[in-house]
Symmetry: C2
Subunit: 339 residues, 2 copies
């Protein structure tokens, strides 16, 4: 079906114009709903647009004027990460409903990949860019500066953003859980994390937990970082390893909920009483924790809200409407049954 040789062209403005007996400028005006045409000509034009199946040519439109296109670049660390997947769905819907087209990419936590992606998207002169990590290469920063377009950093909150920032305070979310655990009477915690990238920096909610827990008088007894994905299995076996090594800990703080669920599963299999023998706390807010008989104590992250607000902030800026540079969305500590 696709003929690489002679490309079948869909009708363009000139053909519509000719068919409707007007100039192509009038057709352009009708399609963009700018004023300067009568109702009669509008109907004539729209008839031909329907009949000929006109598809707008955004390339020509974006090329015409020196200003930017209707593309918006969106870059996340990983597409297979559930949290970013949820945020992306929200961003995708919001951006499209506002008349732009998201161009989604990922960098897998490699700065050079982010840089390469940015160059690709900038060569398409996007209207704006959305990034989800705080740390960028110098070249990336320079490219962003030179582009002169609105930028939203949208996952972890940045109090001194490049341009705009929408997100939550990751450190605080961990800090609150640390303090919460401390108040509940726990004093000897194990921390179970996982990362497939060896040199990855420690997530800030874990830093926050350590601060909150130790401030309350608690002690971090173990801190294991498995060289693995943050999976159910990692939580399952990490818990076994940690609890077998030392009976002296009275709670475990997990890097995320999936791992916590693995830990919970292991404990239930061993008839360990939760939260009496051991307390468990996760992070992230799994979509359906509340239907579990034993509700997981965790921190809920409003992925949907972050996506919506960040996309809206960007578009408002594009329309030269007033916007906040920094929008903090609250995380919510869910005081469940496991701690």
């Amino acid at each position: 079906m696709p003929e690489n040789t002679t490309k079948r062209q869909t009708a363009n403005l000139s053909e519509i114009a000719e068919a409707a007996g007007v100039s192509k400028m009038t057709v352009s005006r009708v399609l963009r709903d700018k004023d300067g045409f009568s109702e009669a000509t509008r109907q004539k034009v729209m008839l031909e647009v329907e009949r000929l199946g006109y598809l707008p040519n955004r390339i020509a439109a974006a090329f015409g004027q020196t200003q930017a296109s209707t593309l918006i670049g969106v870059c996340v660390p990983r597409l297979s990460n559930h949290f970013f997947g949820l945020a992306l769905e929200s961003i995708d819907r919001t951006i499209q409903s506002l008349g732009f087209l998201p161009v989604i990419g990922s960098h897998n936590q490699v700065l050079q990949d982010e840089e390469a992606w940015l160059k690709s998207i900038l060569s398409w002169r996007p209207a704006g860019v959305m990034l989800s990590t705080k740390h960028h290469s110098n070249t990336t920063l320079q490219l962003l500066r030179d582009a002169g377009i609105p930028i939203v950093e949208f996952w972890e909150l940045s109090t001194s953003p490049l341009d705009m920032s929408v997100g939550f305070n990751q450190f605080d979310s961990g800090f609150q859980m640390g303090r919460h655990a401390s108040i509940k009477g726990y004093s000897r915690a194990g921390i179970l994390g996982a990362s497939h990238v060896v040199e990855a920096r420690r997530p800030e909610h874990i830093e926050g937990f350590i601060k909150g827990f130790t401030d309350g008088g608690g002690t971090i007894v173990h801190h294991d970082v498995l060289n693995d994905a943050e999976s159910f299995y990692a939580g399952f076996y990490g818990t076994e390893t940690m609890l077998n090594r030392s009976e002296s800990i009275d709670m475990i703080y997990y890097q995320d909920d999936t791992m916590a669920l693995g830990g919970l599963s292991w404990c239930q299999g061993k008839s360990i009483r939760i939260p009496d023998d051991v307390g468990l706390a996760g992070w992230g807010g799994h979509e359906a924790t509340s239907i579990l008989r034993m509700e997981l104590t965790t921190t809920s992250i409003p992925t949907h809200l972050i996506g919506k607000l960040s996309a809206e902030a960007l578009v408002r800026k594009l329309r030269s409407e007033r916007t906040e540079d920094v929008t903090a969305v609250p995380t919510r500590l869910i005081d469940g049954d496991t701690l």
Copy 2:
């Protein structure tokens, strides 16, 4: 930083040309590595390109000729689905490495949304399109036909594709499991599925399982479809409900591995012996099933391979190289410990 009024322009070909003392056509040739220039001028040009920080303008390039852009549209049902996330990562990497830019979208199993997305992307005159579902609206089909560009359908295999298809035979994957279970001696199966879309059609691997199992003499005793996401919890509680209702079933086939893990977890909590009391089988191939003490019996889907092969097939077609219209990738039945 972003000035909406006077847009800061990065250098264009003319400025590079003037700085290097050549024509802009020569600069164009150097940058695209077409021949027609000497090594000396190449160095002169590249020096200025570096110095002025030239960013190619793909909009102008795509506009210049009547042919398509370097954009490739990719549409999946959901961005938060782990399987598609994995496939997308593979597609993203492959497409970018071949010099194109993927434009990822989702339709959430709503035909009109797919249609709207397609119109958006087609208005950018993409070089090709990749779709991951078999069923499309009539308008979608018409749009694809008229576009005259290569199309890859890339998840479930289609033996009569619109253009090209890369994927696995979903029915067969279930059929094999059904036959496998039958041969192992199971005869009374329960099926546990889930879908948040009420009117969704039944997944084909479940159809296949039914055929394979009943062909071998087995009976499908229960078939529950929870109105929920395919989650760990859905598997956990669905299993409880199903086993409490009737003791007569000797195995459960789950819609996916996450649900199967939930079921496994529930059974372990109740000290039900797997696979003696009840056999369990999943679908999808979770990334780390092999490290679990009890390896889940399931069907592994090569998400990474599908992504890579489908992106490569599309690009080969774009380059007018020979390609297969239908590429079947095999699923693998993992004969684990739970069945």
